[in-house]
C-alpha cells in the first residue's frame, strides 16, 4: 500500500535483499481478499490485513495465513525451507 518511493527509502534504511512491493491500485489485495474497509465519519478507508502466503514454483498456494497469526512469519518460513529441501532432493 506504500508507494515505491516510500518502500525504496525503507528498503535502504533496513538493508533488505528482497523486493518490497507496492499494490498502489489495490488490485492484488482485492483479488486475494486481504483488503479491509474502515468506515470513519461516512468515508471508507481501505487498509490491508497482514498475511503470509507461500506459493510454489508451479504457482500453487502451499501455505496461507492472515491477521494475528500472520504477525509471526516463522511458520511460513518453515514451509519455504521444506519446499526448498524438496526441490533440492529432486
Amino acid at each position: 500500500m506504500d508507494s515505491p518511493a516510500a518502500n525504496f527509502a525503507f528498503a535502504k534504511q533496513i538493508g533488505v535483499t528482497f523486493p518490497l512491493l507496492s499494490d498502489m491500485n489495490h488490485k492484488m489485495l482485492k483479488t486475494y481478499g486481504i483488503l479491509k474497509g474502515y468506515d470513519v465519519q461516512n468515508e471508507t478507508y481501505e487498509w490491508a490485513r497482514r498475511a503470509n502466503l507461500v506459493i510454489d514454483k508451479q504457482g500453487i498456494i502451499q501455505f496461507v495465513e492472515a491477521d494475528e497469526s500472520a504477525v509471526d512469519p516463522n511458520t511460513a518460513l518453515t514451509m519455504c525451507t521444506t519446499l526448498h529441501k524438496k526441490d533440492a532432493a529432486k
Binding site: G33, Y38, V64
Partner: protein
C-alpha cells in the same frame, strides 16, 4: 496575531475530531477465500525500483514467499 489564530483553530479541530473517531469507526473484513492447493491468482506489483513484478515471473524458477506487512515502519 494571524498565526496565533490559525494555531488555535488547528488545536480546536484536533480536539473535537479525536473523541468522535472510535464511535464512528466500523470495519468490513474482506473474505480470504484462497486456500492451500489453489492456484495463486496472477498479480502485478511495483517494486521499490519502480519495476513491475509479476507472480508469473517466478513460475518454474523460484518459490515465492509473499508477506503482506502493513505499517511495518511503525513498529506496530
Amino acid at each position: 496575531m494571524k498565526h496565533m489564530i490559525a494555531l488555535g483553530l488547528l488545536a480546536a479541530a484536533a480536539l473535537s475530531a479525536g473523541p468522535l473517531m472510535p464511535q464512528a469507526e466500523k470495519s468490513q473484513v474482506a473474505k480470504m477465500t484462497l486456500k492451500v492447493g489453489d492456484t495463486a491468482p496472477e498479480f502485478t506489483l511495483l517494486s521499490d525500483g519502480w519495476k513491475t513484478v509479476k507472480l508469473s515471473d517466478y513460475r518454474g524458477k523460484k518459490n515465492v514467499f509473499l508477506a503482506v506487512y502493513v505499517l511495518a515502519f511503525t513498529g506496530g
